[in-house]
Point group: C2
Chain length 200, copies 2
């Protein structure tokens, strides 16, 4: 069953070990920030720093593992139509909209939407880590270190599938930041598929 | 007063708002992983994801701000002899030495040394975030995303000065990872200078 995340919002859910999370960009050029926590102990969380270190690369795709802060595998990426995601930046937030966009009355952003989605699971705002920013296209200048947020490479219907390597609480957003999604605030779809549905 | 951190170890200390932390590489080509927490509420911690986002660059140097997960300034870099540090990777750890170096009896690494340095302040192992890895030279291929840990660009006596923007608990290491320091495990020196000592 496909669940639709409306524009500029988020959803939290439980994902069991072996299940496959399929995240689809239904209209193209939209980003979904994903965070994850060990369901049995939410102090264990998805860690960009461990994942990038163990993969020795910043851009993760099919075959790569997303690790926790305790160095345990949380997800394996088992298929990926887009092959470009960001794992460097914290979710967009009221403070980000003020600082980078100069907005005086900013929306809660992915940070606020993740906080609301995680609150029922007892996960506090300070626990929201750097997200795996699905479909987010951040260009990196390897010489200067400058980064630039560009429109996602995702086309309508493109998806990524991640197999859960532990029981987790996961939250996803349909991103609120204009720079991330080419100034078109769109929904994100996701499905939980049973183990073995990798080719489904 | 200069404090020396012996090779492959770490130290924790309180740093008050306005004080200047000077970190020196006394022998050259050594890395110091730095983490920081709000002294009044250690759930607020240094955040690479916020800092990189607000600076729009991965390599931070003089004039750049290191932000917390709550988007508050923690440090301003006020001088920097080396101009190349990493803010992408979690501290080296037993698990990293096993996974990347194939070591069967690994040392605690910067992760373990930071945990020990922070324990007296009531900061738990799971709270150790991505560090500001002073003098660490991580080459980034902007096309492929591949990263490569190279010897630091620091020469003997090179230093960085950071002004504290809040009262903090800080921990520093003399790094334990051969790849980070050209396989020479050396000490790191630091000093706490009073406000206004920026040119000292």
């Amino acid at each position: 069953m496909t669940v639709r995340i409306p524009p500029r919002s988020g959803k939290g859910f439980r994902l069991n070990k072996g299940e496959i999370l399929k995240v689809t960009d239904p209209q193209g050029e939209q980003v979904s920030d994903m965070v994850a926590f060990n369901a049995a102990d939410t102090k264990e969380y998805i860690s960009s720093g461990r994942s990038i270190d163990y993969a020795s690369k910043m851009f993760l795709s099919t075959g790569d593992i997303l690790y926790s802060n305790r160095s345990n595998p949380m997800f394996e990426i088992i298929s990926d139509d887009v092959k470009r995601h960001d794992f460097t930046l914290t979710p967009c937030s009221r403070e980000m909209f003020r600082k980078l966009y100069g907005e005086t009355n900013p929306p809660p952003g992915c940070q606020g939407n993740l906080e609301m989605a995680l609150q029922p699971y007892g996960i506090a705002p300070d626990q929201v880590p750097i997200a795996f920013n699905i479909f987010m296209h951040v260009a990196v200048n390897g010489e200067t270190g400058e980064i630039e947020v560009r429109p996602p490479l995702s086309k309508a219907g493109d998806s990524i599938k991640l197999r859960a390597e532990m029981d987790m609480i996961v939250a996803l957003t349909a991103c609120s930041a204009g720079q991330s999604n080419n100034h078109t605030y769109k929904p994100i779809d996701f499905e939980l598929l049973p183990e073995g549905a990798a080719d489904g």
